[in-house]
């Protein structure tokens, strides 16, 4: 029977070596092309080759897709693909009570049970069936080998394509086209015809298997979503950041310089930009994060749009140079793709625990604008905006993203290049005496570029005299300069859009205030509660420092303000301190994003109490 449903959540899970990330990514792309709204969440171990078959080595890729608005990778899962016992052990608790398990039973033998830390006598799948789940048992490994028995490939090579069987099968189950993946395989295995043949064959075998074998009582259709008219693509957060940076450079007529040192989950920005040399991007893999930001400061001095990105430990290393950029009042974008901390923390898990570091974490009085992206597609606009502020206001800017956004993806209605606003560098006027620290009405100094005769000037990290920029130890001057620099950054609040309520009433009982990647979960929870007639609104802050001028007005329009964060309460501290309101924290610090239901429950609890 074919059943049409509004949305579905599928989780592909298997051993790290089972290719589940690729499978999930393919399924997402095809669903995006199919016209669904969607959101994805890859969840993989920190180790490249975690011990085979163990729970620690399980890699998962979750996708929520629908004909309705989708803001999160979903809560409980409809269909769990478990390539081995460990995958089921890890994710069974995420299934809906009547959810479906597609199990590769070749991954549930005694050895796999042992590796998953279970007694060899357990029959996991019967237990799952008894618990009310719909279990579909398939010998995926065996069927894959069967399909490839004449391929001339070794068993090991054959086994590598078993994820394609899974993909084909789930395509069939959800009525997807397999063509986009066939095209993908053609491209990927351009120079390896035997692997192209094998993967194509297994993908089709999986699809046909669904058709011929009557294991499934239902087949599902998820229709196109009614998204606003426009052109769309599927995009992941780090990719969107890279594209935003390139676009901003083009719109400012600057060359783009990017320096980084590899670190999860920021590396993909480096990879992406290293591959965009024909856009004039110069990317530099430095010897460490200090060198990366140092080189970026040099590139900024050279007159380029300079950017560096890292994550927790690397951002800590960049602190001193960030202070220098602040003193030089030179454009620089520093991206922090946050991960679980402190120290090395949880490298592949997500967290929002670097907000206080971003706003306060420097020696001396060194306020730096901080802005945060809220979702993969939002990364484009926020990266572009970070560059605009840096260039037009002559300041370093910190952009906060996180692992959840970096790796997640969703459909993005992309703009035309001609629709993007121009960015205007504040160049020093030619043929005029140059005073490096003379400021305009916005307190912005002008930018003199080496190579301009008559503008030769020296600057540095020592306190400088107002206007001339000469070194100065004069007490009155220091106080004046500290206040001026602070005023300059505060002035940016007049040059950003006003804060808006994302959804829900403009005044009422409860306002949920979020920032960063909690956007989707909060929005989903609030829309849902509004349907139930609960007076709750959602406000999401992009400009974290300085705040938009009208933020306070919004906060005061509600009786209660709740601030959910993936940390131990950071934005809530700032809001309480700055506005003296009794904002209530809601914290989750598990390396995992909020489920919308968690937010919903907390609000209801609050309303009761």
């Amino acid at each position: 029977m074919n059943q049409t449903i509004e949305k579905a959540t599928v989780l592909f899970a298997g051993d790290s070596g089972d290719g589940m990330q690729l499978t999930g990514f393919q399924f997402s792309n095809t669903s995006a092309l199919h016209g669904n709204d969607l959101s994805t969440f890859p969840d993989f171990p920190a180790e490249i080759r975690a011990p085979i078959g163990t729970v620690a080595g399980v890699s998962g890729f979750k996708i929520n897709f629908g004909s309705v608005e989708i803001n999160t990778p979903g809560g409980k899962v409809d269909t769990l693909v478990a390539m081995n016992a460990a995958a089921l052990v890890k994710f069974q608790i995420d299934l809906k009570s009547n959810g479906m398990i597609i199990a590769n039973i070749n991954g549930f033998d005694k050895r796999n049970l042992r590796l998953a830390g279970l007694d060899e006598s357990r029959d996991l799948l019967s237990e799952a069936r008894d618990a009310g789940f719909h279990v579909v048992e398939i010998e995926i490994t065996k069927l894959t080998r069967e399909a490839l028995k004449d391929s001339g490939l070794s068993t090991k090579e054959q086994d590598r394509s078993k994820n394609m069987f899974t993909l084909g099968l789930v395509y069939w189950l959800y009525n997807r086209e397999i063509e986009p993946s066939l095209l993908f395989l053609k491209e990927k295995f351009k120079s390896k015809p035997d692997l192209l043949m094998a993967n194509t064959k297994v993908l089709k075998t999986g699809y046909h298997f669904g058709e011929t074998i009557e294991l499934f009582s239902n087949r599902y259709t998820v229709n196109k979503a009614s998204l606003p008219a426009g052109s769309y693509r599927n995009i992941a957060g780090n990719e969107a950041i890279a594209i935003g940076l390139i676009s901003a450079a083009a719109k400012a007529h600057l060359d783009l310089f990017y320096a980084g040192y590899p670190i999860t989950p920021a590396s993909d920005i480096l990879h992406e930009l290293a591959n965009r040399k024909n856009y004039g991007v110069r990317s530099f893999q430095a010897e460490d994060e200090i060198a990366a930001i140092g080189a970026a400061v040099g590139a900024s001095f050279a007159g380029s749009l300079a950017v560096t990105a890292s994550s927790g430990p690397g951002i800590a290393l960049k602190t001193e140079a960030l202070g220098l950029a602040f003193m030089l009042e030179t454009p620089l974008v520093v991206i922090n793709v946050q991960r679980g901390g402190p120290s090395t923390g949880l490298p592949t898990k997500t967290e929002q625990s670097d907000l206080l570091q971003a706003i306060y974490g420097r020696n001396g009085e060194a306020p730096i604008p901080v802005i945060a992206t809220r979702s993969p597609k939002d990364c484009f606009a926020v990266a572009f905006e970070a560059c605009r502020i840096a260039i037009e206001h002559m300041t370093p800017v910190i952009l906060l993203s996180d692992g959840y956004i970096a790796n997640g993806s969703e459909p993005w209605r992309f703009p035309k290049a001609s629709d993007l606003a121009a960015i205007h560098p504040n160049y020093a006027k030619m043929n005029e005496a140059y005073l490096p620290y003379e400021r305009d009405a916005r307190l912005v100094r002008s930018w003199a570029i080496p190579g301009t005769a008559g503008h030769e000037y020296r600057l540095g990290g020592l306190e400088k005299e107002d206007r001339t920029g000469n070194v100065s130890y004069e007490p009155e001057n220091h106080q004046k300069m500290v206040l001026t620099r602070a005023a300059k950054v505060n002035e940016i609040a007049h040059h950003i859009p006003p804060q808006e309520i994302d959804c829900g009433p403009e005044t009422g009982d409860v306002l949920i205030v979020g920032w960063g990647s909690t956007y989707g979960a909060i929005r989903t929870a609030v829309l849902n509660m509004n349907k139930q007639g609960i007076s709750v609104a959602h406000l999401h802050i992009r400009y974290l420092f300085p705040f938009p001028m009208n933020l306070e007005k919004h906060l005061r329009n509600f009786k209660t303000v709740i601030i959910p964060e993936l940390n131990n309460g950071q934005l809530v501290k700032i809001i309480r301190e700055k506005f003296l309101i009794n904002a209530i924290p809601l914290n989750k610090i598990k390396g995992l994003p909020f489920l919308s239901i968690e937010i919903e429950d907390a609000v209801k609890e609050q309303l009761k109490g």
Partner: protein, 338 residues
């Protein structure tokens, strides 16, 4: 070019008061650098001095060019980013022994191996000047300072060996007081395409006075120093009884000049990497019968220059893929319209 030709050394001085201690070796180095600037033929606005932190790193304030007094140890990194974006600029890094060999050691070796076309002037006074006299990574073993009242137990760096070990494409050693030698070295460093590391022995007359006295004192310098001249034999000592260096079984020996066959003389060849390594090992503390300390250009090699390779890749990429079109970047490979 014409304007540059008309410039005088004093055009490179700024209106800032020079704040080094009276008698500091930094003055003489500043003077030499200012004096060669007009000879470079580079317009003033195309010259940039980037320094770290230390007494020596005050230098950019005194040069009427573009300049940045940055943070401790990071000048090499900052200059690298600058040069990658602006091949047209003549970039000079000013650093101290603490700045470049302690806190900034990592950036120094990576700059040397990458070989960007920049010049590094390493002011080696074998002490931390600005922080008032602690030992540095080049201070001699056993040196007593405020932070080493019992004498250091740190084996010192040999900057020449370090540089060559990091595959520096140019290494030279100069002395603050040897104005002519310094001038030649600076001009050759500028002419070299690649990273030129110039170590300059600089007297800190306040915290480490006389550290290089054996090489500057009239009474000892002829015996203690070896002037490296291209194509000439390595000779030292008083004119009346010159000693010559020669190599045997990969070891360096000296003997009276007249006792050595002409073909056995060590003729200086700065292109010879093995000989440069041997020169770098002439590093024993000065005694009456130690081998002399070399001054001049040890090594110079032409090899790939980082920022040029970076540009080449950029152009190759444009040739093969076409110049990037923003709209096609925005729309990506797969897109659909609603």
């Amino acid at each position: 070019m014409e304007i540059a030709d008309l410039l005088k050394p004093k055009d490179f001085a700024t209106d800032q008061d020079v704040r080094w201690c009276p008698g500091c070796g930094d003055y003489s180095i500043l003077k030499q650098v200012q004096s060669i600037m007009p000879d470079l033929g580079v317009p003033r606005e195309n010259i940039v001095f980037i320094s770290g932190i230390g007494c020596s790193s005050r230098f950019p304030y005194y040069m009427n060019t573009f300049g940045m007094h940055s943070i401790h140890g990071r000048a090499a990194a900052i200059a690298s980013g600058l040069k990658m974006m602006r091949k047209d600029l003549s970039v000079w890094i000013i650093t101290g022994d603490g700045d470049s060999l302690s806190i900034g050691g990592n950036h120094l070796i990576h700059l040397l191996r990458r070989n960007l076309n920049v010049n590094i002037l390493l002011f080696n006074n074998e002490i931390y000047g600005l922080t008032k006299g602690q030992f540095s990574p080049t201070s001699e073993l056993g040196k007593t300072t405020k932070s080493s009242p019992w004498g250091t137990i740190d084996h010192p760096f040999n900057p020449a060996a370090l540089a060559l070990g990091a595959d520096a494409s140019f290494f030279a050693r100069g002395l603050d007081l040897d104005t002519k030698g310094l001038r030649d070295i600076l001009l050759r460093a500028h002419a070299h395409k690649g990273t030129s590391l110039v170590e300059i022995y600089q007297n800190c007359n306040v915290f480490n006075d006389g550290a290089f006295a054996p090489y500057s004192n009239k009474s000892t310098r002829q015996r203690s120093t070896l002037l490296l001249e291209e194509g000439k034999p390595l000779l030292y000592g008083e004119d009346a009884n010159k000693e010559a260096l020669y190599i045997k079984d990969m070891k360096v020996y000296s003997a009276p000049l007249e006792s050595i066959d002409a073909e056995d003389l060590w003729i200086h060849d700065s292109k010879d990497a093995m000989k440069a390594h041997l020169l770098s090992r002439l590093f024993d503390p000065y005694t009456e019968d130690s081998l002399p300390r070399p001054f001049g250009v040890f090594y110079q090699e032409d090899r790939l220059v980082y920022e040029e390779e970076m540009d080449k890749q950029l152009h190759t990429s444009i040739q093969s893929k076409g110049i990037g079109d923003l709209d096609s970047l925005l729309q990506g490979r797969n897109h659909w319209t609603i």
